[in-house]
């Protein structure tokens, strides 16, 4: 009959209305500033720079290679290389970024900078409460604003960070093994007679170090 659909609909909305006062499960909203739902692990918005250890300035993984700056589609990254060098995580002397700015009002969160970085130095952040009263200065993040510890990285993206750490550890072990092998080879070379040296070095290399890929 005409109008029974309306009555049915009214019953549904009345049930919703009354139910929302009775059962909390019905309410789909999250009272945001007080309650927060945990962000999904894959969430991302703007990049940050990872540093190891306690000092952000010393521990920055970035070596100012500028690949991200060149790859960035909206050109929101600005890097100035340093004049001096400092040791990186494996102890090799590297230049570091004297300036590293990201304009997050330009950034489009594409993650290309993260994908191209060979040093695992730039990662995506999940921080989204970036409101500021200065839309130019406030959204232009410098080196210090961007630097976040590796522990923080572990906190926001645990799986990804564990993978990255494993990879870095492997590389570090590789480099150390290589250095060790080289050192041993050099020692052997120094100890042995010049005639024996070419055969001794290849023989010790694979045995001491990690299996080569």
């Amino acid at each position: 009959m005409l109008g029974d659909g309306i009555l049915k609909g009214l019953a549904v909305t009345a049930k919703n209305f009354a139910g929302s006062y009775v059962s909390k499960e019905r309410l789909t909203t999250v009272e945001y500033p007080e309650e927060r739902e945990p962000l999904p692990e894959d969430s991302r918005n703007f990049p940050f720079l990872v540093y190891d250890g306690g000092d952000w300035e010393k521990g920055l993984r970035c070596v100012a290679c500028q690949i991200c700056e060149k790859e960035c589609p909206p050109k929101c990254i600005y890097i100035e290389k340093s004049k001096d060098k400092k040791p990186d995580y494996v102890g090799k002397l590297q230049i570091y970024p004297a300036r590293f700015d990201i304009d997050i009002s330009v950034c489009m969160s594409c993650q290309i900078c993260v994908e191209v970085c060979p040093f695992e130095a730039i990662k995506m952040d999940t921080e989204f409460e970036l409101a500021t009263d200065d839309r130019f200065g406030g959204l232009l993040l410098d080196r210090q604003n961007l630097a976040k510890s590796n522990e923080y990285y572990h906190k926001i993206h645990p799986t990804e960070a564990a993978e990255v750490d494993a990879r870095l550890a492997e590389e570090k072990a590789k480099v150390e093994a290589k250095a060790k092998a080289a050192a041993e080879a050099a020692a052997a070379k120094a100890a042995a007679t010049p005639a024996q040296a070419p055969t001794a070095a290849p023989a010790t290399g694979p045995a001491e170090g990690e299996p080569r890929p």
């Binding site: 109008g3 609909g9 909305t13 209305f17 139910g19 006062y21």
Partner: protein
């Protein structure tokens, strides 16, 4: 004591006016009443907006506004500050004068309707013999202000919204009038005060409200449909269908002018609810004879509150109609029912007391409802949408 409470506003007015010289008293009394109306209804409007947002929120399993003040009840104040501090933008090509006058015309005509509405025993600003006629004349001028707004904005959405609004309001104005005419036929008076008094009688403890008669019930339902359409409320909110028309006729309004339109719309809703309860729900009379000691104005505003809640409930339930559905519904279902209801009201009047008139009148109306409804539904084919060229 009880009578004193019932007449508290009237006595207050007389006491205040009593301090003035006799020649000023009439004017001062009118001014006082006007001030009271102009103060009370916008306050109710503020209450309605927050009630609506909370209610619709709950219907959709949300909390609704809950930040400003306890349980969000101060939200209208925040809204008011916001709309007052917003920039007032007038389009360059708009007709400035008409654009400026439209919201004022809307609010003024809406408030004029309250002049004849009895809000309690002896609480009516003007006890006019042709109060109902005056009310509908004022209601009809709301259409003018809507069209003024739409036309002067020089915006296609405004104009389309205004066209829709005028088409809709004229169609449903007829229904609104015809459903009220049955009340006038039975009461024999256009005066709203007399209409309320005719309903303010009790037999077996129950009131003689017109809604408790077959023609009155049908008339009330038809009136409610027409009132919803007249005030451009959902499901008849096509003139401001935001998915199609941005905001309809008030697209080009901002700041305080928009707030005036908003106010006008909600106050019109309050006023048409007030008229509806006056015509069919006994106005300020109590629902049971043992409750007559409760002040009359409490009943009037209580009925107003219930009507507003129903409006909100409907808004939270029904989807918007299409323009052709709206027109078909008005002209093919509601209007024939209204005309039939006039006939039934006449029948009721001349069949005399007794159970027979109850049976005959109810049967005619129920039969007509079923038959016209069935006729209307028959042609509607619900199913998969078929495409002529795209398949």
């Amino acid at each position: 004591m009880i009578e004193w409470l019932d007449q508290i506003f009237v006595l207050l007015k007389h006491w205040l006016v009593g301090y003035l010289p006799a020649s000023w008293q009439t004017v001062a009394g009118v001014v006082l009443s006007v001030v009271a109306i102009v103060a009370v209804y916008p306050a109710l409007f503020a209450l309605t907006t927050v009630l609506e947002r909370k209610g619709v929120g709950r219907i959709q399993n949300r909390l609704g506004p809950n930040r400003v003040g306890p349980y969000g009840i101060l939200q209208p104040i925040a809204d008011a500050i916001k709309s007052l501090t917003k920039e007032d933008i007038v389009p360059t090509s708009a007709d400035g004068v008409v654009h400026f006058l439209a919201p004022i015309a809307q609010v003024v005509t809406v408030f004029m309707g309250f002049a004849v509405l009895p809000m309690g025993r002896n609480m009516v600003l003007v006890d006019m013999d042709s109060a109902l006629l005056f009310y509908f004349a004022m209601g009809a001028s709301a259409e003018l202000s809507v069209f003024m707004a739409g036309w002067s904005s020089r915006n296609k959405y405004s104009l389309l919204g205004a066209m829709r609004a005028v088409a809709q309001m004229i169609s449903y104005e007829i229904v609104l009038l015809l459903s009220s005419v049955s009340v006038v036929m039975i009461t024999g008076s256009l005066s709203l005060v007399k209409i309320v008094e005719a309903q303010n009688q009790y037999s077996h403890g129950l009131p003689h409200w017109y809604i408790f008669t077959p023609w009155g019930f049908a008339g009330f339902v038809l009136y409610a449909i027409a009132a919803t359409a007249e005030t451009n409320r959902s499901p008849f909110d096509l003139p401001e269908g935001e998915s199609e028309l941005v905001a309809g006729y008030h697209t080009e309004y901002s700041g305080f002018k928009f707030a005036l339109f908003f106010l006008g719309e909600y106050v019109a809703m309050l006023s048409i609810s007030g008229l509806g309860s006056t015509l069919f729900l006994g106005g300020w009379s109590a629902p049971f004879s043992f409750l007559t000691w409760v002040p009359s104005w409490i009943w009037f505003f209580g009925k107003l509150f219930v009507s507003i809640c129903v409006f909100i409930w409907l808004r939270g339930t029904l989807p918007r109609l299409r323009q052709d559905q709206l027109m078909n519904f008005a002209w093919k279902f509601v209007l024939p029912m209204c005309l039939l209801n006039l006939f039934v009201a006449g029948l009721w009047r001349f069949m005399g007391e007794g159970w027979l008139r109850w049976v005959v009148c109810s049967a005619i109306l129920a039969l007509a409802y079923v038959v016209i409804g069935w006729e209307g539904m028959k042609r509607k084919q619900i199913g998969r949408r078929s495409y002529r060229y795209a398949d």
